[in-house]
Each structure stands twice: as C-alpha cells, then as structure tokens.
C-alpha cells in the first residue's frame, strides 16, 4: 500500500490489530477482488457475513461477548453520547431468568416481547455510547446475543466502478478495513446489516 503515508499505514495496522488480525493482514487483495467480480453478472456485488453468498472474501471471527465486540468496533466510552438511547433497567422478573433458565431456549421462552427490544437497544448503546452505563444490561445482552460472530474483510483497495452497487448484508455484523476505497460516479454502497468501516483514504468520484 505504497499510496499511504506512514501514519495511514500505522492506522490501518492498528485497526487490523483491534480486530485480532496481523497488522498487515489482507483478507483479499485487489487482484483477487477483480477475479471474484468477474463472476458477478449485472446484479449488485454482495459483501455478506454469510461467506457462501459473499462475492468478496470474508473471514468469520467468533466473538464471545458484547465487551469483546466493543473492543473491536465500539466507540470510546467518553465520546458524544447525546443521541444514544440508554434503555431503562429490565424488570426483576426478567433478569431473574438468567439464574433460573437452564438453556437459551428456556430463557427466550420466558422473555417478554419488550425485553427483546430493550436488550437490542442496550446492545446498540453499549457500542455507540458509554458501555459502563449498560452494566446492568450486560449479562442479559450476553445471554441473548452471544457467543456470536462478525465477518471481516480487509484489503488495500476497494474500487466500486461507476454505476455499480455494493450491498453489505447478512445476519451478523460486517467490519471492513481498507487502505483506500474509491466509489465511482453513481455507484452506491447499500448497507443492510450493522457495519463498521475503516479506510485511510475515501474517494467519491
């Protein structure tokens, strides 16, 4: 990645390490990307957390807890959280299920519909806001949503030709780390699943 400055290369390596990858690890290179895309017809190019449907190679990484995911992609705890919605504590009759349920299926069977929504919001706030404020929710988040996984894609260049659409999708989060992303005129990145993207240079033509 000769087109990057020393500082940009260091930033790329730092983000890779945050994801648990080697500093210079590239899951695909530009050549491989082009080879993959030759197989794609006129439809959109898919980057998916489901490797079987992804046109761009992804690496699946297990994630054990919301705290671990926060270390990988979360925002700093001391950042601006003015728009973050911190949900109210769960009622005791819901949290007590963590001690009494013998399986995740049994836990889910005992949860109210509102608890699913609350825990989903709590998980989002954990990553987007001050995770310390979600300490009461953390055990339920982990019990309901973890262990999980994320799909990683890293490379030097991601070139999206003019008029092309890339779709980021799947049931799990997707994390991208590139040296440079170039989006051609009229091209679009459509995002359908939680996504974290890091690039040192971003070009919109």
């Amino acid at each position: 990645m000769d087109f990057l400055t020393d500082q940009q290369r260091a930033n790329f390596a730092s983000f890779n390490q945050r994801l648990g990858l080697a500093p210079d690890e590239l899951i695909h290179d530009t050549t491989e990307q082009h080879a993959q895309l030759k197989a794609v017809n006129d439809g959109p190019v898919i980057i998916s957390s489901n490797p079987g449907e992804s046109h761009i190679p992804v690496k699946i990484v297990p994630v054990g807890s919301i705290a671990e995911l926060n270390k990988m992609v979360g925002l700093p705890d001391n950042g601006d959280d003015s728009d973050v919605h911190y949900p109210d504590p769960l009622p005791e009759h819901q949290t007590s299920l963590l001690q009494t349920a013998n399986s995740r299926a049994e836990l889910f069977a005992g949860l109210d519909d509102s608890t699913f929504e609350t825990v989903k919001k709590a998980a989002t706030a954990f990553l987007m806001g001050n995770s310390a404020r979600l300490a009461d929710h953390e055990p339920m988040i982990n019990a309901m949503m973890f262990p999980g996984q994320v799909a990683l894609a890293t490379g030097s260049d991601l070139n999206i030709p003019a008029g092309q659409t890339y779709v980021i999708q799947g049931n799990d989060p997707v994390v991208l780390n590139y040296g440079r992303i170039t989006v051609g005129t009229g091209a679009q990145i459509k995002v359908l699943t939680d996504t974290t993207l890091s690039t040192q240079i971003f070009v919109q033509q």
Partner: protein
Amino acid sequence: MNNQTFYFTGNNYAQPATAGGNGGNGGPGPKGTDGIAHYLDYSCPPIYLVQPGSGGNGGNGTNGTTGSKGAKGTAAPNGILHFGDIQGDVTILVGGGNGQQGGKGGNGGDGGPGGAAGNLQKSIVNIFQIGATGTFGDPNFKAGSQGQAGHAGNGGDGGDGGDGGTVVVYYNSSTGNFHTQTTAGQGGNGGAAGTPGTGNGTPAHGNPGNPGRPGAAPVIKLFKNG
C-alpha cells in the same frame, strides 16, 4: 445529490401479510317432500292426498375474517464509518424499511342455493283417463330461497415503519462536503377489504385496514478528528 454514496436501510417486504380466511359457502336447502294428488280432470283443482313441500332455504354464507396485521418494518442498521482523508462529496442516507402491507380481508361466503320444491305425483281418476299418471311440479309450492351472503372481512392494518439506525462518521480531512438525509421508515398500507359473498341480504363490504405508523427517526453524527 447525484451520488448516494451510502444508503443504510432495512429491506422492504416483498409480500403483504397473510390474507384473512374466506367465509364458507352455505349448504343447499333441503328439497321439499314429494306429494300425491288425484285429479278428476286437469281442468279441476287437484285433490291432494299428500301435499308436496316447498324447498328449504339455503344455508347462510359465513363471514370472511380480517387480514393479518403487517409486520413492523426492518430497522435500518447501525454504522460506524472511519473515513480518514476524503476526496469529493459524500452522501449518506439512513432510513428504516417500510412496514409490511396488511393482509387482504377474506371474502364472504356465498349463500347456499335454496332447496327444490317437492314433486307432485298426479293421477287422473275420471272414467276416460283413469290410470294416467305423471310427476309434475306444482306451482303452488316453490323452491327455497338462497341463503344470506357472508360479510366481507376487513383488511389488516399495515405494519409500522422500521426504526432508523444510528450512523457515526469520523474523518480527518475532506475536500468536499457531506450531505446527509434521514427518512423514517414508512408505515405499511392497510390491506384491502375482502369481497362480500353473493346471496340474499345486504352483506357488509368490509373496511380496508389502517396504515401503519412511521418508524423512529434515524441519527447521523459527523465528527472531524482533532
């Protein structure tokens, strides 16, 4: 905005919610009992030994049921974007998916056909035509009426729009501008009412479902790294 660089959204539903069940058609009315009559002559009124019965009314069609409520739209995903150094204008749109359209109301059932009137076994008993017999209809006894038509089912309510996600953007420098746009996921349309059944009476046409409510507004935050 010629370019829409990023579009965070939930997928829309391809199909409306499940339609309501159609009402059942009424069963046919029972046939009237057969009768027996003697005539001195066909120009004379019959002498009923057993009067034929009129047909029974057909059964009523049952009502169509209400269509299912549409599901809530898919929430827009969350995004964290670290852009570094940007060249050009970047446009970011965020909006939840639209709610699912409500299911169509079920059609009302048709009223069952009325039963036929009983037949009349006729015998001529004058000296010239004695023994002449036949089976005929008797205009004094009629077929039953068709049953009542079933009411149409109401359309299901549309699902609420999907909630917006939160997209946070960090960048070091930019030669262009950011354009951001947030849209709430729109509520799904209500389902159409079903069709009333045919038959007697004045069956209700049913009402279309109510549209869903918009989802929560998305949030886009931009931060320039210090």
